[in-house]
């Protein structure tokens, strides 16, 4: 992808946004007086703000770049991440789980686990979560720095450090509230910045019907656009129907999943695991000002979330349709190559002999280091021999002949194609905003969990524990005493929270360098979620709804679930991947058609392992907590919330059912 020139207006918009987020941090800093203000917003934020922040916290690299990439790779089926996954899980969180999170007064999800079970479960969850937030944050920043590097030609390192610095500045000033406020700002940036791109893209391909028509031709021969290996063919509706290709079986849809992996793996395990137990999103609802606001947070979030596929997945489908139309002069971007690589390949084309096209194709392919389309290289060499082409013309020819796709580049290539200066600045700023708030969201969740669940709890259980000691008096007499160190004042935790914020940002930068090794950020994140989150939902489900679940059962079940994920990953691999970081490094027991399928099955496996282990061990061990201890933490021991003081149309259960019906209707429309 060639770098683009930004004009003064684009820079003005970019700078205005950065100024506003730093300004918000500054304006909030005078309200930051205690660790609770900084880390939990002291439970004071209105519902619509927490609701938008709730979805926005998840709107980083994952959503924009990954969903457009998946939209191109898998078509409208990607919407299952929303219509089967997120929406039902968000409704479940609001109606059933939020009363326990909010009602228990826990400051974090691990703290809830400590109340329900014990310190071991909390420690395991908080360590796993801390690692995950750092990775998610790193992946986000890596995507951002790459974007700035590719698109604007900024140095990767400078982009990474400067953007992280901006995040540090506003999070350090305004804490969680700052992160939540900028998430809301960013929500509007994303929606208002990308809607025109989708509109222009759809207009260009000739509307929704025309786009679907092109995608039907693509589905029959996806190899023509290098979407799949040669010889693979799907039914015409593989990219345009959400359910028919999935129900037909894993060989009949580009995602390579069947209905069970989709509904159980993605819908039940991954999505409920993510939306109901991930502190990053749950933290937003916990910051709400009262119980009703907390329960309504995921419901408010569900409304825009339901329609997000049109904003984030449709661009990927537009890109595929455009690529299939020769007159549009567009292709899904190829992997990014340096100018030097292109220059080398241009020389090879100039020196190639058209008569020996096989050798020419091989030489060009070697120079680029990528798979190339032989016919395109042959005709490029022939065209250059017939009448000398200019270097940029040859480069363009090479660009078009690379037979590999870089899906993460889809969204950018469309922004570049359709946005004039001005709108370009808006769309780029929206992207930048989403990545930065991806980092801010993760860092604010990380610092809370670290400060309260790792640091404070280990102080209380270990460092500050009352301990027996012997004092020797001046006269030689000794006396046995118990020393009870004082819990440090709140200012101590306030400053610790700030210090950990800096550490979290530095670790994220490290994770960003690590993440720069992978090509599809989305698959990696899903994998990490599979390891950590999939088993966790089993622990919560049993813990919240079955009072017999014991702490020992929960701990070993969770541990077994995480170990089970790692084991599953080490034994399986997705088609086309080499054993190693993508799995299968111990033994190849099973090959899945795609990474997506591998992730869904991994999640399903981890869930079942955790669920079974927790159940069996709980039955074999005795309870350590009485019914009275578990009041407010377990469903059957908690008085039902009676919402008699609010009108029926505002009751979480009623709103939840209405949203579910709308979601089901969406599924049918795109069946």
């Amino acid at each position: 992808m060639q770098a683009i020139q930004l004009q003064w207006i684009d820079y003005t918009i970019l700078i205005a946004y950065v100024a506003f987020v730093i300004g918000i941090g500054w304006a909030l800093s005078r309200y930051m007086k205690t660790s609770a203000d900084f880390l939990t917003s002291a439970r004071s934020i209105p519902t619509w703000v927490t609701g938008l922040a709730f979805i926005s916290a998840n709107l980083g690299a994952l959503e924009l770049v990954g969903m457009a990439a998946s939209g191109a790779k898998y078509g409208i089926s990607t919407a299952h991440f929303y219509w089967v996954g997120a929406i039902p899980a968000m409704i479940f969180l609001a109606v059933f789980m939020m009363p326990f999170y909010y009602g228990s007064k826990a400051r974090s999800v691990p703290e809830y686990l400590k109340m329900r079970f014990d310190e071991r479960v909390r420690a395991l969850n908080s360590v796993a979560f801390a690692v995950m937030t750092i990775f998610a944050s790193g992946i986000s920043m890596n995507a951002l720095a790459k974007l700035l590097n590719q698109l604007l030609g900024w140095d990767y390192n400078i982009a990474l450090w400067v953007c992280s610095g901006v995040v540090l500045l506003y999070v350090l000033k305004g804490g969680l509230t700052s992160a939540i406020y900028t998430e809301v700002l960013q929500f509007f940036m994303i929606v208002l910045g990308f809607a025109p791109v989708v509109y222009l893209g759809l207009k260009d391909v000739g509307g929704w019907k025309a786009m679907n028509h092109s995608l039907q031709a693509v589905a029959v021969n996806p190899a023509a656009l290098n979407l799949k290996d040669a010889g693979i063919s799907y039914a015409p509706d593989a990219w345009t129907s959400a359910w028919t290709p999935v129900l037909a079986g894993s060989a009949h849809n580009p995602m390579g999943v069947d209905w069970f992996a989709m509904i159980f793996g993605l819908g039940f395990v991954l999505s409920f695991g993510y939306w109901c137990t991930n502190f990053l999103v749950v933290q937003r609802a916990m910051a709400a000002k009262n119980m009703t606001a907390a329960r309504n947070t995921p419901l408010v979030a569900a409304v825009p979330k339901m329609f997000f596929p049109f904003l984030v997945i449709v661009p990927g489908m537009i890109a595929v349709a455009l690529t299939s139309m020769p007159d549009k002069n567009y292709r899904i971007p190829p992997p990014i190559l340096s100018e030097a690589t292109y220059a080398k390949a241009v020389d090879v084309v100039k020196n190639a002999r058209p008569a020996d096209s096989v050798a020419a194709v091989k030489a060009v392919g070697d120079a680029l280091g990528k798979k190339v389309a032989p016919d395109k290289i042959a005709s490029l060499v022939a065209a250059n021999a017939a009448s000398k082409l200019s270097d940029p013309q040859i480069k363009q020819g090479l660009y078009n002949s690379i037979a590999e796709n870089y899906y993460d580049g889809v969204i950018l290539s469309l922004v570049k194609k359709y946005c004039p200066p001005g709108l370009l600045g808006l769309a780029l700023t929206a992207l930048l905003a989403s990545f930065m708030s991806g980092m801010a969201g993760n860092v604010t969740a990380f610092n809370t969990v670290f400060t309260y669940d790792l640091y404070q709890s280990s102080r209380r259980n270990w460092l500050d524990k009352p301990r027996p000691s012997t004092i020797t008096h001046r006269d030689g007499k000794t006396e046995d005493v118990v020393i009870t160190p004082k819990d440090p004042a709140d200012t101590h935790y306030f400053w610790m929270g700030k210090f950990i914020t800096v550490v979290g940002i530095l670790l994220s930068i490290g994770a960003a360098y690590f993440a720069s090794m992978y090509d599809n950020a989305m698959d990696i994140i899903q994998l990490v979620f599979g390891f950590v989150n999939a088993p966790l939902f089993a622990t919560f489900l049993l813990g919240m709804f079955w009072k017999r679940t014991t702490s020992t059962g929960a701990f070993y079940g969770l541990f077994g679930g995480i170990a089970g994920s790692a084991l599953f990953h080490s034994l399986t691999i997705a088609h086309g991947n080499l054993p190693g970081v993508k799995g299968g490094y111990v033994h190849l027991a099973r090959e899945f058609p795609s990474e997506m399928a591998q992730n869904f099955w991994l999640a399903a496996f981890a869930f079942i392992v955790c669920f079974t282990l927790t159940l069996v061990i709980s039955l074999a061990t005795s309870r350590t907590k009485s019914d009275a201890d578990l009041k407010g933490l377990v469903y059957s021991l908690t008085p039902k919330i009676v919402d008699h003081n609010i009108p029926f149309y505002q009751k979480p259960a009623v709103v939840g059912i209405v949203l579910l019906i709308v979601c089901i209707i969406l599924n049918f429309i795109f069946w």
Partner: protein
């Protein structure tokens, strides 16, 4: 928390809206994508959104919502 978030949202989108509208009006050729002066159209829309948020913030200051 003391700051009404509608202020920064309203101010920022009003600013960007004005920028895009003026840019679209002055530089018509540079602002056109697929035969639409998208900067002008979208700028006006952002301006309306931004002003709406500001009006919300102003009325919120007069009648603070019940906690």
């Amino acid at each position: 928390m003391g700051l009404d978030i509608r202020w920064p949202i309203g101010l920022m989108f009003t600013l960007i809206g004005v920028l895009l509208t003026v840019f679209g009006f002055v530089k018509k050729a540079a602002s056109t994508s697929l035969d639409i002066n998208i900067n002008l159209v979208w700028g006006i829309l952002l301006l309306v959104f931004g002003v709406g948020m500001l009006l919300g913030a102003i009325s919120g200051r007069k009648n603070p919502p019940a906690a």
